[in-house]
Amino acid sequence: MQIHKYNTLSCDKTIVAGCIKGRRNAQKALYDKYSGKMMAVCIRYSNDIPAAEDILQEGFVKAFRNLEKFRFDGSFEGWLRRIIVNTAIEHYRRKNHLYPLLDAADTDMDISDDDVINKLAAEDIKRLIDKLSPGYRTVFNMYVVEGYSHKEIATQLNISEGTSKSQLARARYILKEEVEKHFGTYKRASGE
């Protein structure tokens, strides 16, 4: 009997082929290779680790079930990320359907202290984003990090484009306030 060995260094095509054949070690290798990055995506969309892990688990299961649909037209990571993000959005919808996104005026606010932002690590930015409500956070993540257009966001979240824009503006405004607070803390901590 031929024993197939897979690890995180194996190419995606080989691992995916093994996964499609139902080989558990291939599935584990794929999970090990991408679970860290995908967990980071999940954390951005959820408030807590258990919720993020739920999204991650559900997303990976979906991916494994639909692997044969992946044709290697693009990167596997991009395909997997899309599944994880969609799963996160579904979670958001399920949990927040009672609190629909409301229009807010687009105040064209920006996060002015870009120097500060540029010095922040991912964890710090995440901490800032966590200050946002689920609706703002979702729109912010989708637009800024994932690169969705407002039209796509509107479709995914079943809201209008205007609402998406206003939510993003509101998110930016809140972040700006948080950065200012953080900036003060940062300056004090670094002795500047």
Binding site: Q27, V41, E53, Q57, S112, D114, I117, L120, A122
Partner: protein, 437 residues
């Protein structure tokens, strides 16, 4: 604006390379899901295999049902051999026929066209399993048709009538008194037939053929040949029974009081169980079933609210129908297979296992709250065919319907709660007959 773009790019780049290690539980959960998927896939495959096997078995069974028995007792009698038998015309023909046919005893495998034509219907068959019910009017009519046809068609001078023999046929049936001369007559007849001119021959064949077809058409519907060997058996049988029924709960108003605009619908549900029965004779049998955990109930739809809603009311029951089957020997449609057409009538005892109501939680109905009677009685009726597909194996298939007595014991808050259940659908069974010698 520039700040926005810079911030966005930085945030995007930062998060793109950010990794967080999830806990081991995540992979365990994924493995569990994948195992479950694999198990479900195996079950699906098993279902496909079982379904295919059942479909093939059903097709084989259907083929067995639709294929007439070969080499069975019935086969001997079934073909009413309509050979061309050329009755030689004679001046005394009519008298001879009347005189000779009264006590003709037909031997097995020798039923022939000319015998059936006998104007008197005293024909009997020696085998007790065969009943022949000739229609004397048709026979007389056909006899009438036959003779003039010859008289008008043929030049009787061309036939040599050696004696006053009324008829001969190719099967050599003893329908005449003068058996000594029969062979000679037949030979002479054949010779004379061969001496006919082409035109006469053609005409003769045409008339004979038309005549035969006419007689086949006339006789077939009225001649009932039924092999009663499968129908006269008596004894016990055991087996499995099943059905697929549309069920509903009858009420004068929508069932759920808070959805007055609701509409009741039939629910469809399968039933399965075991059966035991006893066949008394060809006209009567009884059968009792035990139907395990079947579902009755209704579905209610309501579209008054912003979103349409659909509820199911389910009653889970064990049922014991006791049926009397009034049997009528017959044949299956589209085939010559012997069967019994059974009219069913009886009572069914319903024992409630559980029930589910959509508003159960809202009204805080507890388990001990009795909303439906723990037991109830239904009237059951139906119609089915019953066929021996093999000597010991019996199948039945047909339709049935039930209506129950008042099921409800509870009026508040379900003030308009249904009082009766009604079902209608298909029934079928496969039984092993223990009574065959």
């Amino acid at each position: 604006m520039g700040n926005k773009i810079n911030d966005s790019n930085h945030i995007k780049n930062t998060f793109d390379n950010w990794e967080v290690k999830p806990s081991q539980d995540v992979w365990f959960g994924i493995e569990q899901q994948l195992d479950f998927d694999a198990l479900a896939a195996r079950k699906r495959n098993q279902k496909v295999v079982v379904g295919s096997t059942m479909a093939i078995a059903a097709m084989v069974l259907l083929a067995v049902i639709l294929t007439p028995k070969q080499n069975s007792g019935l086969q001997k009698y079934q073909p009413i051999t309509l050979q061309k038998s050329y009755n030689k015309p004679s001046k005394n023909t009519n008298n001879q026929l009347v005189k000779e046919e009264n006590n003709t005893l037909i031997q097995q495998e020798e039923i022939s066209f000319s015998t059936i034509l006998s104007p008197n219907s005293g024909t009997s068959v020696s085998n007790e399993n065969i009943s022949i019910e000739p229609n004397s009017e048709i026979l007389a009519k056909n006899a009438d048709i036959r003779m003039p046809a010859y008289e008008t068609t043929f030049n009787l001078d061309n036939f040599v009538v050696a004696n006053n023999t009324p008829s001969l046929d190719e099967s050599g049936i003893e329908s005449i008194d003068d058996t000594d001369n029969r062979l000679t007559q037949s030979e002479n007849f054949t010779t004379e037939i061969s001496n006919l001119t082409d035109k006469e021959n053609e005409h003769f064949n045409a008339v004979s053929s038309t005549e035969s077809e006419h007689l086949i058409n006339s006789l077939t519907p009225d001649l009932t040949l039924i092999d009663k060997s499968d129908l006269t058996v008596k004894g016990f049988y055991l087996g499995a029974t099943g059905g697929y029924n549309a069920t509903t709960l009858v009420s004068n108003a929508p069932i759920i009081s808070s959805y007055q605009d609701g509409v009741n619908h039939f629910r469809f549900a399968p039933s399965k169980g075991i059966s035991v029965g006893y066949i008394f004779n060809e006209h009567l049998s009884v059968q009792a079933d035990y139907i395990y955990n079947t579902v009755e109930g209704t579905a209610i739809s309501s579209e008054s609210t912003s979103d349409s809603r659909y509820f199911n009311v389910s009653l889970y029951m064990d049922q014991i129908p006791v049926l009397v089957k009034f049997k009528q020997p017959t044949r299956l449609p589209f085939t010559n297979k012997n069967a019994s057409l059974n009219l069913l009538g009886g009572l069914q005892m319903n024992m409630l296992r559980n029930y589910q109501l959509p508003q159960q939680r809202r009204y805080e109905l507890l388990e001990e709250t009795v909303v439906f009677r723990n037991s109830s009685i239904s009237l059951i009726t139906g119609l089915e065919y019953e066929v021996f597909v093999l000597p010991e194996w019996l199948i039945s298939f047909g339709l049935d319907a039930t209506v129950s007595q008042n099921l409800s014991t509870f009026d508040d808050p379900l003030s308009v709660y249904p009082k009766h259940s009604i079902t209608a659908g298909l029934r079928g069974g496969l039984y092993y007959f223990l009574g065959r010698d």
